[in-house]
Symmetry: C2
Subunit: 82 residues, 2 copies
């Protein structure tokens, strides 16, 4: 894969790690190739809605919890009460 950068942000890695899933495991659950998941996590990839919906379903969160035009901020008290 040639060098690429995407101009939006995602929380995929955080959501995956929080659920104690390896890429391989998440890949099997979603039928997405593990390398593809890796590219997304490294923000080198602009996935399609369909792929995103598969991730959303398995992770149990909405699309907007995974992808955002704005940068996700670190978790703090405000995050957890908001």
């Amino acid at each position: 894969m040639t060098e690429r950068k995407v101009e939006f942000h995602n929380r995929l890695k955080m959501l995956r790690v929080e659920r104690n899933l390896s890429r391989k495991q998440l890949a099997e659950m979603t039928n997405i190739h593990p390398q593809t998941i890796g590219y997304i996590e490294r923000q080198q990839f602009n996935p399609t809605i369909e792929l995103a919906l598969r991730l959303s379903k398995v992770l149990g969160v909405g699309l907007d919890a995974i992808f955002s035009a704005e940068e996700f901020h670190l978790i703090d008290n405000k995050t957890l009460s908001g």
Copy 2:
């Protein structure tokens, strides 16, 4: 464009019409080609997250309000109170 069908749903047309926008206008606001918007509305297209985020921004709704794995149901009292 060869015949294509996508296996998720979107509410783009409804959101656009509700805002009294033509495809051309929405196209200009988002920098998305009007034909591309047409393909999405006709569910013949699986757009990327980046495109989806541009739509989300100008329409003022989250990704999940536009795209869903499940079919969107018609608006009724329940919709409007929920």
